[in-house]
Symmetry: C2
Subunit: 191 residues, 2 copies
């Protein structure tokens, strides 16, 4: 399955991008997926050349196509003004309103304080509800203190990532676990 990770950060380095990366790494370790990662710090200057989808150039179209072609989206944003970044919203304004129906979406955010933790629920979840996408119940939110520099250092957040991946697998029949080839006997017993 195709996984596209998006991070709404407009700066680099970015804790949001780091958090999204951890999620996609674990997803790639555990399941047979083809994963791609786009940060808005790179994508926004391309997408900002177009106000509307019909104005996208080739490079912009490639980004929007990648979103529309994905089976699973991992979407992260820093919390800006109590919501996702405008840059990330602009990308979704360019995505066809029918293109995300039924896709699985994992929600990720980072914020300056725990106060903005519900951004994932009040802003991100309704956005994907509009698109008729299926959002994974456990959203991942982290604050600066959950990182050492730009490395995730919180067991609580790490456990939430694992829970989100379990939930994703439970509602995604086509998501195939990677079989650990070092344990063939045990796998045979369970076959």
């Amino acid at each position: 399955m195709k996984v596209l990770a998006l991070s709404g950060n407009v700066k680099r380095p970015s804790r949001t991008a780091a958090l999204v990366s951890v999620l996609v790494e674990r997803l790639s370790e555990r399941f047979t997926v083809e994963a791609d990662f786009i940060e808005l710090v790179d994508a926004a200057p391309v997408l900002f050349k177009a106000l509307r989808a019909d104005q996208l150039d080739g490079a912009g179209r490639t980004i929007v196509d990648a979103v529309e072609a994905a089976d699973i989206l991992v979407v992260g944003s820093p919390v800006y003004r109590a919501s996702y970044t405008g840059a990330l919203k602009h990308l979704f304004d360019l995505v066809d309103y029918r293109a995300l129906a039924g896709k699985r979406v994992i929600l990720v955010a980072t914020g300056g304080t725990p106060l903005h933790g519900l951004m994932t629920e009040h802003q991100f979840r309704p956005l994907f509800g509009f698109f008729n996408a299926i959002t994974i119940p456990t959203a991942i939110y982290a604050t600066e203190s959950d990182f050492t520099g730009y490395q995730l250092a919180s067991d609580v957040v790490s456990n939430r990532i694992d829970r989100a991946l379990l939930e994703l697998a439970s509602i995604t029949p086509l998501l195939r676990p990677i079989v650990a080839t070092t344990e063939p006997a045990r796998l045979k017993q369970h076959a």
Copy 2:
């Protein structure tokens, strides 16, 4: 007082821009204000050159300065993906987070169907709550059927505009009504 009207439309002609215009015209007729109007279809290409406020060029800075200097904001957006446009959000991402505290904000939106009428409440109002701005209770929402072409043609919406202006005046002591010079006697009686 300085009024800045903003419309998040990224196309022209725009019903949102038309609705915001009606509001600002009435505001200007009734009160002593200095009003300016910025449409994102013009402003976004300028603002999109910057990912962050420290990257704004002169023209971009002028737009952000106008938002930060206003006493009253009239902010409209078409409903895109159940929220305001990404272009408009990008503008507010560039506005200093301390700059709008205490400003009065009138919320305006247009949508394809009545279903998205609460965008003003669920998306716009919390955005300005973040900024510690004071949003006017009556928000203005209109659908295509409230217009003849791009002209507002709905008494219900028109009445809501009047109500919003009354509310604005009631919480804005410095907003001075324009004295009708044709009725001096009546005005004297009430003095």
